[in-house]
């Protein structure tokens, strides 16, 4: 089973990801834990709410936190999908989901992320990392997760800025 990093551990991926759909209302959602695209979530929300513990939602980089808004609280998992690691919009989305919309479930970065982004993503509230590239050495990636032990700014991990802790 494919592996990923969650809460600084290497674990089996228990979720499948449903591909984007142009006809979201007709998308068939398999049994088990599924991460669905935002448009599928929107068009089948009522039905899917009955499977509360096994439906997550994934966002592209141009789908922002406020598009889920209060729905976030009800979801067990939200994935932020990176088409390219250079697109940093999801860093903001992560913080807003945690800090503004009260999301407490698994916040997963997936796709084209690189291990050198893990520490910052984690400070933005991401707690799971699923690399598109299967060949990634996950033990090595775990190292990068703790590149920094502290930061100057407020973050999801450390709410008090360093200058108030000196």
């Amino acid at each position: 089973m494919p592996k990923l990093i969650k809460d600084a551990n290497i674990i089996d991926n228990q979720w499948s990801m449903l591909e984007a759909s142009n006809t979201p209302e007709d998308a068939l959602i398999p049994a088990g834990n599924v991460i669905v695209p935002l448009n599928v979530w929107r068009s089948q929300k009522t039905k899917l709410s009955g499977r509360a513990d096994e439906i997550g939602v994934w966002l592209t980089s141009d789908e922002f936190a406020d598009e889920l808004a209060d729905d976030a609280k009800k979801l067990p998992l939200i994935a932020l999908h990176f088409a390219t690691f250079m697109d940093g919009r999801a860093f903001t989305t992560a913080r807003l989901l945690r800090e503004r919309f009260g999301f407490t479930g698994e916040l997963r970065a997936s796709g084209a992320i690189i291990r050198d982004q893990l520490c910052y993503l984690s400070r933005c509230g991401v707690n799971a990392f699923h690399f598109a590239d299967d060949s990634i050495n996950l033990e090595g990636a775990l190292d990068s997760l703790s590149d920094f032990s502290d930061g100057y700014q407020t973050s999801v991990e450390q709410k008090t800025p360093l200058s108030q802790r000196r």
Binding site: F64, F85, M86, D87, G88, R89, F91, T92, R95, R100, I114, D116, Q117, C119, Y120, L121, R123, C124, D143, S144, D147, F148, S149, D150, G151, Y152, Q153, T154, S155, K159, T160, P161, L162, S163, Q164, R165, R166
Partner: protein, 552 residues
């Protein structure tokens, strides 16, 4: 100056370790070229035409003499014995070996210096006024706020992958010496009617391909809200800035597309959510930052103008230096001195290892062991006793940085250009030198007065050609280097952008064209008018006529 505590050392140490590991992975083939690219850029490392270039931050231009000596050491041990002062007050090494860069960064970290985010699509080094804390026209010292911004921007987890680079400049004086109107964010420190300190906030200024003067989006931001407001601006930019075209990705394009009012409203809306959170600066935080820039132990001195006048009478050359390179100071009996890095024949802003050490010695002896880099690519000793000026002049002259040309045509801003930079369309350094040789008569230069000549080797505008009174832009025409001339730009409080004079010239024509522009100014000026004033009065036409007149 700000002194690192154990937290700063720890974080910077972790950064250098991180980059050492990344470099090792890259050299071992475990990190792909395109993945290493943004990582090395965010550690200051460009791959240039001939070798890598390492850009080291000089936060708001302040250097102590330990740092100056370390830069000299690195230049000697790891490079070819010289460095370049950039137009954003930073120090650039032109020839480091990639494999040695982690060691260079480790050495620099020992003296509280870093190359963090000095390039790449991220928050860059914050720049400020080279006369901060000493200028007579200063309202509030911008350095404590610049340091607060440095800390906030360093390793900011949310904004490390922005659409494009992001530059902030801070000025606290009446006269803007930090070019805040042509930065992504420009901050003017001000006080309101009740004496409260705050910021006038400008966004969306910039040079490059699309030069724009920034728009004021807030007239007064109380100082305690500095960080949350910056977070709000960056958050809007991170989300909405264009990522499909790197030439349209700067915040200036977003602000223009949305309109400054709408952009401001968006920022205010975001800010309302985070305004009174833990990022709000406490009194203690502001005081801590202010204490880092406390007043040095000035002696109680009277004004020494009479003595200086007498020394000038005996040594007219000293008088010339005084009039161009020495600047007023807010404390009686003191002056600020600009050491010129623009002698003819040396690339503007270049300085050798032994000159750096000589400056360190002078700063130790005459200026509280501190120096400042300027965006005009010179170095300032900020706190010199007037009574020491004569002795300092003699020593500076012997080391080659007393050329009395500050503010004149030959004190030009110039990027490294096609000799070094792989982005450049044309060489800039030989053009600079040819112009310096054309205008080598000091009395003539003084007669021409204040004249900003800015030269860029390509439209990325590192040489700030849009805001030179005369700007020169290197362009490529079918593989040949040509130079476009612009007139009427101005940096500072009444910033304006230059307009193109006409068709571009070949390199060999530029000195003669410059001469015709200057001749036109001399012919048209009325008593006491500076170049920019004459240009603004008479317009482009007479210059154009003279320059493009057919030789009969």
């Amino acid at each position: 100056m700000y002194i690192y505590d154990e937290h700063d050392y720890k974080i910077l140490g972790e950064r250098t370790t991180q980059f050492r590991k990344q470099t090792d992975r890259y050299l071992a083939g475990e990190l792909k070229e395109e993945e290493f690219l943004p990582l090395r850029l965010q550690n200051g490392l460009y791959i240039q035409r001939l070798a890598p270039m390492l850009r080291v931050n000089v936060p708001y231009g302040m250097l102590n003499t330990t740092q100056l000596r370390k830069i000299a050491h690195v230049a000697r041990e790891y490079d070819k014995g010289y460095v370049h002062v950039s137009t954003r007050q930073n120090i650039q090494f032109n020839w480091p070996e990639l494999a040695e860069v982690p060691s260079i960064l480790t050495e620099l970290a020992e003296v509280e210096m870093h190359a963090t985010q000095s390039s790449g699509s991220c928050l860059r080094n914050t720049t400020s006024d080279q006369f901060a804390g000493i200028a007579p026209d200063e309202v509030v010292d911008p350095r404590p706020y610049s340091e607060i911004i440095r800390q906030w921007s360093s390793f900011h987890p949310e904004f490390a992958f922005l659409p494009r680079k992001f530059k902030i400049a801070v000025s606290g004086a009446e006269s803007d010496r930090a070019a805040i109107r042509v930065h992504d964010i420009g901050l003017q420190v001000v006080t309101n009617d009740t004496g409260e300190v705050g910021f006038k906030v400008l966004v969306g200024g910039g040079l490059g391909r699309t030069p724009v003067i920034g728009s004021v989006i807030r007239e007064f931001l109380p100082e305690i809200h500095l960080i949350s407001y910056l977070d709000a601006i960056l958050r809007i930019y991170n989300q909405l800035g264009r990522r499909d075209n790197k030439y349209k990705a700067r915040i200036k394009i977003l602000v223009k597309a949305m309109g400054a009012d709408k952009f401001a409203a968006k920022v205010e809306e975001e800010w309302a959510h985070i305004k009174d959170g833990l990022s709000t600066l406490t009194r203690a935080e502001i005081e801590l930052a202010k204490n880092a820039f406390s007043t040095p132990a000035y002696a109680e001195l009277g004004d020494e103008s009479a003595v200086l006048a007498q020394q000038t009478a005996e040594q007219p050359a000293f008088g010339k230096w005084l009039s161009r390179n020495v600047h007023p100071h807010r404390v009686s009996g003191y002056a600020a001195v600009t050491l010129s890095l623009k002698p003819t024949g040396v690339a503007p802003g270049d300085i050798t290892d032994s000159q750096l050490e000589a400056i360190a010695d002078l700063a130790d002896q005459y200026s509280f062991a501190e120096a400042r880099t300027t965006h005009e690519q010179n170095i300032v000793l900020g706190d010199v006793k007037q009574s020491d000026l004569f002795a300092l002049w003699g020593k500076a002259k012997a080391k080659g940085f007393a050329t009395p040309n500050i503010g004149t045509l030959t004190d030009m801003i110039c990027c490294p250009g096609g000799d070094f930079c792989s982005l450049a369309n044309a060489k800039s350094l030989p053009i600079a030198e040819a112009i310096q040789r054309q205008f080598d008569d000091l009395d003539y230069l003084y007669d021409l007065g204040n004249l900003d000549l800015n030269i860029s080797g390509c439209m990325n505008a590192c040489g700030h050609h849009h805001i030179g009174h005369i700007g020169i832009l290197g362009v490529d025409k079918k593989g040949e280097e040509f130079y476009q001339i612009q007139l009427g730009g101005n940096a500072g409080t009444d910033t304006s952008l230059g307009k193109v004079l006409g068709p571009a010239f070949g390199a060999n024509e530029v000195p003669q064209v410059m001469q015709r522009i200057i001749d036109t100014y001399v012919a048209k000026r009325v008593d006491g008018e500076q170049f920019i004033e004459t240009y603004r009065r008479v317009g482009m036409a007479p210059f154009k006529e003279k320059v493009y007149a057919k030789a009969d």
